[in-house]
Structure formats: C-alpha cells, structure tokens
C-alpha cells in the first residue's frame, strides 16, 4: 500500500534525503506525509507545548484505533485523559520531568480506551525545539503493548507460582529432613557419617552420650584424631580401609577397644558406603551398637548356669553312688518290687543328670558362646567307641556299625560324640518295638557322612523340620518319652558349628534315618 502511494505521487519536497519546501509542492507533500502517518500502526500525536497544559494538536488514525476515541474527542486534551481515574502511576513523574526538561523519554503505562478497556501503552515522547532551543512541540509515538505486557505478567505470575511451589517443597523437604534427623537423634545406637578421607561429617546424640564427647570436638575432625587418637583402632582401620572398599555393606563387625575415659567397650559395627547421585560420593555411615553390657550379662548367665549345674550335679553324684551301693547290698532274698524301685530311682537320677547337661548346652548355644575345642582325632574309632558304650548300656537293641569315614578329622570330639550319642539314644528310645539300629559311616565328595537308622515309628513329614527346633517334641511322643526336647536342637547347632548339615529322612511306620555331614577339607571351610 505504501509502495503504491510512492508510485502515484512524487515527493518534491524530499530531495537528497532532506525536506525542502516550495510553494507549489507543499500541499501535495503534506497530504502524502499525512497518508504515511495514517498508515503507521503506531499511534502518533503532536502536542503544543506553547499552549497551556500541552494539548494534543494532531493524532493519526492508529491513535484513534488504539484509544477507541474519535479525533474530535482527542484534539485539545492533554495526554493524561487516557489514564482516566488510574492516576497513581509512577511513570507520570518521568513524563512530567521530561516535559519540564524538554527531554526524550520512554514509559510504559496503563491507559484506558474510551469504553474503559485497559491497554498497555508504550509511549515514546520526543521534544521539537525552535532555533533558540525552546520546546515548541512534543511528538508522542504510542504502541499498544497489552499483549506483550500480558505475556510478561503471565510469566511473572508463573514465576511467582513456581517460587511459592519451590518454597513449599523446600519447606516439606526441610520438614522431612527434620523428621529424619529426629529419627537419627532418637535412635539408641551411635551413628557416624564420614567422608572418604575419614573426616567426621556428623554424629548423632547417642554417639555423644555413649562416648562422652561434645559435637564441637567431634564433627569436622578426622576420625583417627578424635580425643587424642582414641579412635585410632587397628580393627576399625582394617574395616574402613581394607574390608569396606570391597565388601559393602559390612554388618556385625566386632571391635573391642579400651577407651581412656569410658573404659573397655565391645562394639558391634555396621558400615555402609553410601552415594547420592550428584550430591556426594563414598560417604561412610557407621552404626555402632555398644554390646559391652549385653556380653557381660551373657557371660554372667553362662557362669551362673555353669555353677548351678555343677552344684546340682554334686549331690546327684552322692545320690547315684548310694543307689548303686544299695543295689549291691540288696540280699537275694529281697522281693522284685524293691529291686525294681531301686532300678527306677537310678534311671530317674540319670535323667535328672542329663536334664542339667541339656540346660547348660542350650543356654550356651543360644548365646552363641559354644566353644569348639578343635583337635585332630580318629573319627571312625571315636564313633566305634561311642557305639560300643551305648551297646553296653542297652540290652534291648542291637547296634550294627558299618563302613568307613576317616581316621583323621579335626573338630571337637566331645561335641561330635554328644551328637552320635543323642542320635543313638533317640533311635533306641523312639523305636521300642524293634531290635536293630544301624550306623553307617561313609565319605561323600569332601565330606564325611554318618547315618543312624532305626526301624521305629517314624516321623511325619510336617514334623520333620520342627524336631530341630528348641523345645519341640513330636506330639504323641511328649507323653510317652518325657524330657526337655532340646537334644536335636543342640545336635543341629553342633553340626552347623562344624560347617556340616544334620537332617532326617523318615516315613511314619518305616523308621527314621538321621544323617549328618562334616566337611573334611578344614582349610577350605575356614576360608568361607
């Protein structure tokens, strides 16, 4: 459109890029310029600074369009009529100052169309001066920037929403951090976090309480240098420097140490190398359980039981002896009834004796304090001897032993004999109607194997697992064969302590076979 105008008219007054006015072309040129102004999408006005209140003396078509006013409603007004009642905008002072100083300025302000609709007006104002430098007119160029402003405002709004969301999330993060930290502080176990250089990053309250130190003298210090090097413990170093790098996490690591002020502590450690993507790497979390007191209580309990069993057995020795004397002194003329009574008394004294032994065994095993005295011995010979002794004591059953295992086994002989005795006496006890018990020795791969088979009542499949539990006794047997029911539990623990397995195969009515294996390759077992 603009191009067409230039083709139809010649702008005589514009020569060499400058306007020069000649009488005959003025009219035509002016009309052309006005058309150009009216084609602009920016609103353009002229105000007369020489008249009071700087009235608008010219506006183009775009100004009418932007403001919604007609030309006759515009001319003569001061620009501020577009602000309607919204007079508090700080941009007005910028405008006022520019008018006073005769300077240029750009402001963005809220203006209102005739119908009251808000529009954002970007106003560029520029003075026109005469030769003396007096400001005669101002040119105002206006652009409706409502859409841009709206986008800006929406952006701002979004930013505000986002900011408040961030604040909220930060708050809830902080809350959950507080929550976690309150858990960490409440826990009755000492917790330490180290960085890869073994500097203490944080400890919890329980740590401070247990080791009687303050947070200030602990956090930020090197672990090994804490409290004059009282944490410079060989086993702890071993854990942190040699074990943890290749085994993560490490659990139940026992460290014993004599601390200068708090004395000897037995500690159970769990250590965990932790990494949080992008935040930190190779931090070490150590949880320390102080088991000093617990171990001491266990030890006292074991001591108590040892003493108790010793003291109980002492009078039992006398009783047993006298019963045997009585049996001997009994004249042949005495009735069978008295003989029978003495025999039974002897049997029950024996039972009392084995109950005391079982009680002690169970207590030791329960606390894991069963000590193995490992020595190399002739395994087959020991089993043969045990079988002979058992055979000597039983008149009802015939014990047959076959096969070979080894003449050279390293383990706790007395414990293993205890197992074989238990299996043999079970086989005899629970198969009262049969006459034969078979013992079979063999070697399977790098294990030795011992099986004890009876032809007794057998064990139901659902009860086979439970018979190795403490205090479990096969239901109906409970009434017929009283006892504490820890024999097989103790046997199972003993075999496990030697790295072997104890199991049963049985069918009700067809007898039971109890078997155990023990690893022959002692060195390999230890390495595991």
């Amino acid at each position: 459109m603009f191009g067409e105008i230039l083709n139809n008219y010649t702008l005589d007054s514009l020569k060499n890029g400058e306007f020069t006015l000649s009488e005959n072309s003025i009219k035509q040129d002016l009309s052309l310029l006005i058309q150009a102004l009216d084609s602009s999408i920016s609103g353009i006005i002229l105000t007369d600074n020489q008249q009071p209140d700087n009235p608008i003396i010219y506006c183009n078509k775009a100004f009418e369009f932007i403001t919604g006013y007609k030309r006759h409603e515009i001319i003569g007004h001061n620009c501020r009529f577009l602000q309607k009642e919204d007079r508090g905008q700080k941009e007005r002072s910028i405008l006022r100052k520019a008018v006073e100083d005769g300077a240029e300025c750009v402001v963005e302000m809220r203006n209102y169309q005739k119908n009251g609709t808000l529009f954002w007006n970007e106003l560029y104002m520029s003075p026109i001066k005469d030769e003396q430098g007096n400001v005669c007119y101002f040119i105002g160029v206006q652009n409706d920037i409502t859409r841009r402003k709206k986008a800006e405002q929406e952006l701002l709004h979004q930013q505000n929403i986002m900011e408040s969301q961030i604040q909220e999330r930060t708050k809830s993060l902080k809350e959950s951090e507080d929550y976690l930290s309150s858990i960490v502080q409440t826990v009755r176990e000492s917790l330490v976090v180290l960085n890869p250089e073994f500097e203490v990053l944080s400890v919890n309250d329980h740590f401070l309480k247990t080791f009687k130190v303050s947070r200030e003298e602990t956090e930020g210090k090197l672990l090994y240098e804490l409290g004059n090097g009282q944490w410079d413990i060989g086993k702890l170093k071993e854990l942190l420097e040699n074990i943890l790098p290749t085994n993560n996490p490490v659990e139940e690591f026992e460290v014993e140490h004599d601390f200068p002020h708090i004395g000897k502590k037995l500690m159970l450690l769990n250590a965990h190398r932790i990494e949080l993507e992008g935040q930190y790497k190779d931090r070490i979390l150590i949880a320390i359980e102080d088991i000093t007191d617990r171990r001491e209580i266990e030890r006292r309990k074991d001591d108590f039981l040892s003493i108790a069993s010793h003291e109980l057995k002492t009078p039992l020795t006398t009783i047993k002896g006298y019963i045997q004397v009585m049996q001997r002194l009994l004249p042949d003329s005495v009735g069978d009834k008295l003989k029978e009574i003495l025999n039974k008394t002897g049997i029950y004294v024996e039972r009392l004796n084995s109950l005391i032994a079982e009680l002690l065994d169970m207590s030791k095993i329960q606390t894991g304090n069963i000590e193995l005295h490992k020595e190399t011995f002739d395994f087959d010979k020991a089993i043969h001897e045990a079988v002979e002794n058992m055979q000597a004591a039983t008149k009802t059953h015939h014990i047959i032993i076959r096969g070979h295992a080894t003449n050279n086994y390293t383990g706790d002989e007395s414990h293993i004999i205890q197992v074989i005795n238990n299996l043999l006496s079970n086989a005899i006890k629970y198969a009262p109607d049969s006459e034969e018990v078979q013992v079979y020795l063999s070697r399977v791969s790098n294990f030795l194997k011992v099986s004890v088979s009876d032809k007794g009542m057998g064990i139901k499949i659902e009860e086979q697992k439970k018979i190795f539990d403490r205090f479990y006794r096969v239901g109906e047997i409970q009434q017929r064969f009283p006892g504490m029911g820890i024999g097989l539990y103790v046997c199972d623990q003993i075999i496990k302590n030697h790295g072997g397995t104890l199991w049963v195969e049985s069918e009700p009515g067809n007898g039971s076979t109890f078997s155990f294996t023990l690893p022959l390759d002692e060195g390999r077992f230890n390495e595991q």
């Binding site: 040892s306 069993s309 010793h310 057995k313 002492t314 009078p315 039992l316 020795t317 006398t318 009783i319 047993k320 002896g321 006298y322 045997q324 004397v325 004294v349 004796n353 002690l360 005295h373 007395s414």
Partner: protein
Amino acid sequence: MSNKTILICDDDEGILDMLELILEETGYKIIPIKNSLHIYDEIEKQNPDLILLDLWMPVLSGDQVLRTLRKNPETKSLPVIVISASREGERIANEAGANLFLAKPFDLDILIDRVQEIIAA
C-alpha cells in the same frame, strides 16, 4: 590287695562319705580330705598309692593341686583320677596332667574298675 592307700580330696562331704564307704568295702585304706589346703601334708605323711581329686574347690582348686604335684619329682608320677561335675572338667584335667577323668555323677562300677586298674599298674 588291701594294703593300698587312696587319698580322696573333695570339698563336698556327701561325696567324701559315699566314696569312703564304697572304697573301704573293697579293702583299700581311705584318707578323706575336705580342705584341699591340707592335701600336701597328707600326701607326705600317708604316701598314698592313688588320689581321687575334685576340681572346683574353694581356695585351692584341684587343677592347681595337680600341677603342683606334677612339678614335684616325688609326686610326679603319683596316679591321679580327677572327678568333677565341671563341663570343662575333662580338658582341665588332661591339661593339668591327670591319669584319668571321670565326670560326676560317675558310675560306681566304672570308678572301682578304673581305680583297681590304675593301682594294679
């Protein structure tokens, strides 16, 4: 067979009485000692052929007594049977140098058999 002497050292009077009763019956001379502190004097005085020794005794324990006996050239090879209700009894007895260990409560027949074996040897 009856001129042999057996010294029994146990802090429990019941066991001392019972053992004395049984072993006297077999014809041995019995020296019962309740307080282990007196054992060295009695050994010197009576020169026994065998000692039955308890382990857990107040003041001087059986394994201490046994170690001392084994260090002395005169009692070095004196036969000693340790009788104890201690769980660790057998190990302690062997380490201290006992000829035999019998766990309490023991079987009288076995005790008498072993006593006779060792004295005859």
